[in-house]
């Protein structure tokens, strides 16, 4: 009894499981048929994802469903299900990475999210619509993917058909045992159970076949595997040609200009292009080239006249490439060019106007301060005039007033000067004036107050040492101030050079008996004759223009020596030993920052330069005149160069008394 009940319960459970299984199979079959029908009708496409190329959007094993979309609506970011346009044309699920329009048709590039590189193909949509993935069922595709195996599918086919066959055969042969053997079991119940088994077998077989069919009908989507080795990205940098600044120029001769520049692209430039224009800032035309890059000079012969301003730039070059222009240089700014600073014809005019339009009258002295302001001893106008470096405006800073006498103390422009021939300025800005006609030296402070500084006393001897105002200075001319404020004075009447220190005067040179230029010995033993100028170098050596002896002497530590003059060759163009040149009334001397000595050789009408013991022409041809401004100084004309001064840059100013002008010879900058 107990076993019968258990058997009934077992039969019930078996029947229930059978019905559930059959229901699942039937439902799956219907769903598969529905999906296939939808796919066949073009409503959607489904596909399993068989690779990880779209991770993390889609993982291997996901099942995607794609729906048709108008191709015009496709945009980058959409995921397409498509057949790759390569041999074999497998279905691919990849994302649109780019959309372009070619001949009015959208064209797409695709890429797997996990792939480094875009796909190799370009997608053109045939027809009006494409399949855009709209849904994804995670993992569902894994089963289909698992089924996507030839052997496995064959096995399922065989098992499915075999199971179906077995069930059918059991159904056919079900009655045999009942007819041949009178079994005790209930025949009707057994047949029902056998039918259920048969149904189950048939359903399993049909399910297997349907699975295989579904697999065969669906396109299997997979992402193609790609390998994209990428080396570290190399950088590529084009070279550059730097401007060849600074460009400088020198009047190498009366007709040629030597250009020199910096090699600022030593590893890239292969040469240079020298260019010239008659207009500043534009219109440059190449006048020459140089190569290789280490050749950084070029000499040009500009068209005559040399007094016409020419403008030069240099470009570094390499092939067709060139650098920006270097700085521009103008021919009148080249080393050795001469330019007008002040003066036109003799007279007095022009204060508060441009100095180049003002009139001077026999300027006999000139100096320059650290700012480049120029001070002129405008002798026959009895004034000291100043040319502002920044504006070029000329003004009177001393003289021209009614207050006579060296003892006058007051406003400098209220004082009366008498043919001042020398002017100097100290580092504090105090101006010293040789009031030549009044036989005294006067001082003008920064505030414009004038006072007596030396002279007017009774002690005329060169050897006198005492208060400066107690000495007698006759016709003081050249002045120089050292860095300590010591003032050096040429006493043309007493033929000596004096020094004033803290209000006291002392002998520097002169007063002796040795007249020849070649004399070397105690400075106090030399005989000077109308020394007109004095200058100092950085070492404190004192240079004296011994004007009437026609030589330049130097005093070092109390001893005097010959610098230039005393020779036989007097032409301005002479170049050779400085002791071999014949100076004639050298009235001016200056020392530049390089230690070169500039001599105003007044009678020959030229400036000479002594460097390392050799003399050469510096300015003036020897012909009287005032032309040549903006051109080479060695081609310019001077009339009576009387005084010279130099600044730290090497510029030299000359007071040309005979042409009533002050001019500047450009030095290196």
């Amino acid at each position: 009894m107990l076993s019968g009940t258990a058997r009934r319960i077992g039969h019930m459970v078996t029947r229930l499981m059978s019905r559930v299984l059959v229901t699942i199979i039937v439902a799956s079959t219907l769903a598969a048929v529905g999906v296939l029908a939808g796919q066949a009708a073009g409503k959607w496409r489904i596909a399993p994802v068989l690779s990880g190329s779209m991770a993390p959007s889609f993982d291997q094993g996901d099942l995607v469903m794609a729906e048709p979309i108008d191709k015009a609506a496709l945009r980058p970011g959409d995921v397409l299900l498509f057949n790759a346009p390569i041999e074999g044309s497998p279905a691919v699920v990849h994302r649109i990475s780019a959309r372009t329009v070619v001949n009015g048709e959208p064209v797409f590039n695709t890429k797997g999210d996990a792939n480094k590189a875009p796909d190799v193909w370009t997608i053109r949509v045939n027809g009006e619509s494409a399949w855009r993935v709209t849904h994804v069922l995670p993992m569902v595709g894994r089963t289909i993917a698992w089924l996507d195996n030839s052997a496995l599918r064959l096995s399922i086919l065989v098992i499915g058909v075999g199971t179906m066959l077995f069930g059918a055969l059991r159904s056919v042969w079900a009655l045999a045992p009942i007819s041949w053997h009178a079994e005790r079991v209930d025949r009707r119940r057994k047949r029902q159970l056998e039918l259920h088994s048969t149904h189950r077998a048939v359903a399993l077989g049909v399910g297997g076949l349907v699975g295989v069919a579904v697999l065969g009908m669906m396109g299997l989507a997979y992402a193609q595997f790609t390998s994209t080795p990428t080396p570290p990205a190399p950088g590529f940098t084009s070279g550059s040609l730097a401007a060849s600044s600074p460009l400088s120029c020198t009047w190498a001769s009366a007709t040629t200009i030597a250009l020199g520049w910096a090699n600022n692209s030593p590893t890239f430039a292969t040469g240079y292009s020298a260019q010239r224009s008659d207009t500043s800032g534009s219109g440059y035309a190449q006048v020459g080239t140089t190569s290789p890059a280490t050749v950084i000079t070029y000499t040009d012969t500009p068209p005559a006249p040399q007094t016409t301003k020419r403008y030069y730039v240099v470009d570094a070059t390499r092939g067709t490439w060139s650098s920006p222009h270097s700085n521009e240089v103008a021919s009148n700014d080249c080393i050795g060019a001469i330019n007008l600073v002040a003066g036109t014809t003799t007279g007095f005019s022009g204060d508060t106007g441009q100095a180049t339009a003002a009139q001077l009258a026999t300027p006999l002295g000139v100096t320059v301060d650290a700012s480049g302001n120029v001070y002129i001893a405008d002798a026959l106008n009895n004034r000291i005039r100043k040319v502002d470096a920044a504006t070029g405006v000329i003004t009177t800073i001393a003289g021209g007033g009614a207050s006579t006498g060296c003892a006058f103390a007051g406003t400098a422009t209220s004082a009366t000067l008498n043919q001042p021939r020398g002017v100097a300025i100290d580092t504090s800005g105090n101006i010293y004036i040789s009031d030549t006609g009044n036989n005294c030296v006067r001082k003008v402070t920064n505030a414009g107050a004038i006072s007596l500084y030396a002279g007017t006393g009774a002690n005329a001897a060169c050897t006198y040492a005492g208060t400066a105002v107690s000495t007698s200075i006759g016709s003081p001319r050249g002045l120089a101030v050292d860095a300590s404020g010591n003032l050096f004075i040429t006493d043309a009447t007493n033929n000596c050079v004096r020094k004033v220190t803290a209000g006291n005067v002392s002998q520097v040179a002169g007063g002796g008996a040795n007249t020849v230029c070649t004399y070397a010995g105690a400075a106090s033993a030399v005989s000077l004759s109308q020394p007109n100028a004095v200058a100092l170098n950085a070492a404190g050596d004192v240079f004296i223009a011994d004007t009437s002896r026609n030589c330049i002497r130097k005093v070092t530590a109390g001893n005097v020596s010959q610098v230039a003059g005393g020779g036989a060759s007097g032409a301005c163009s002479f170049a050779g030993a400085a002791t071999a040149v014949a100076l004639t009334a050298p009235s001016g001397v200056a020392v530049d920052s390089l230690g070169r000595v500039v001599i105003a050789d007044s009678t020959p009408r030229c400036l000479r330069m002594v460097s390392a013991g050799n003399v050469s022409q510096f300015a003036g041809t020897g012909t009287s005149g005032s032309t040549g401004d903006n051109g080479p100084a060695i081609a310019a004309l001077l009339t009576t160069p009387n005084a010279v001064t130099a600044n730290a840059s090497g510029d030299v100013w000359v007071a040309d008394a005979g042409s009533h002008r002050v001019r500047r010879v450009e030095g290196p900058r």
Binding site: D119, L220, G239
Partner: protein, 211 residues
């Protein structure tokens, strides 16, 4: 007796019918299996399912060496200059390749890569043997074998540039020389420009096959 004979006759007929039905079912089933098996083994629509066990791998090209100089840049490039770099492309994977393409992008961009006419131009050539390198880092290469064109002159930036004449089978060596040229027509404005070029050689697996 009649009943027995009749029963015997029905039983025989039934047995005959069962046998005939069984034979028919077996034949139909065999036919289905046979047809299905044929269908499976001739299915060329699918590719090897076991994709993940195969591999598509190009030999890394960021290894410095005479055959791999692609990661080395250049400076002070002037109009008319050429830059040669070798790269060794080798499919070390187990799957033959359908194609090898080159995609170049600029992570640092300038007119050197954006000017497709006067900017950097690229040419790829293959040597049948390893290139012989000389110089450095201004490398130049000569081919001791025969050269073939891999990529004709093209702007340095390109997407999916098809590379021709490369061996795509597994293990095949491709000794490639990449030559970049800044055309002589490059204008002055191309001075002092910098571009960083990313090279991506993409190996794509071969076309689908039945497995």
């Amino acid at each position: 007796m009649f009943m027995k004979a009749s029963t015997t006759r029905r039983t025989g007929a039934l047995l005959t019918r069962k046998l005939l039905l069984s034979v028919s079912m077996v034949m139909v089933s065999a036919s289905v299996v046979g047809i299905g098996a044929f269908a499976v083994f001739t299915d060329t629509a699918s590719v090897s399912q076991d994709v993940s066990s195969g591999s598509v791998t190009l030999q890394p090209i960021n290894v410095s060496g005479a055959n791999n100089r692609l990661s080395i840049g250049a400076s002070d490039i002037a109009a008319g200059d050429t830059i040669q770099r070798a790269v060794h492309l080798k499919n070390t994977g187990s799957i033959a390749l359908a194609s090898l393409t080159l995609t170049t992008t600029a992570s640092t961009t300038s007119v050197l890569d954006t000017d497709t006419t006067n900017g950097l131009q690229m040419v790829l050539e293959k040597c049948s043997v390893a290139w012989t390198e000389s110089g450095g880092p201004a490398y130049t290469y000569t081919c001791g074998g025969s050269t073939t064109s891999v990529l004709a002159t093209a702007p340095v930036i390109g997407t999916n540039l098809a590379l021709a004449n490369l061996s795509l089978t597994g293990g095949a060596d491709n000794y490639v020389r990449v030559t970049l040229t800044l055309p002589s027509s490059a204008p002055n404005s191309m001075q002092a420009k910098s571009s960083t070029i990313n090279y991506a050689f993409t190996a794509t697996q071969r076309a689908a096959q039945a497995k």
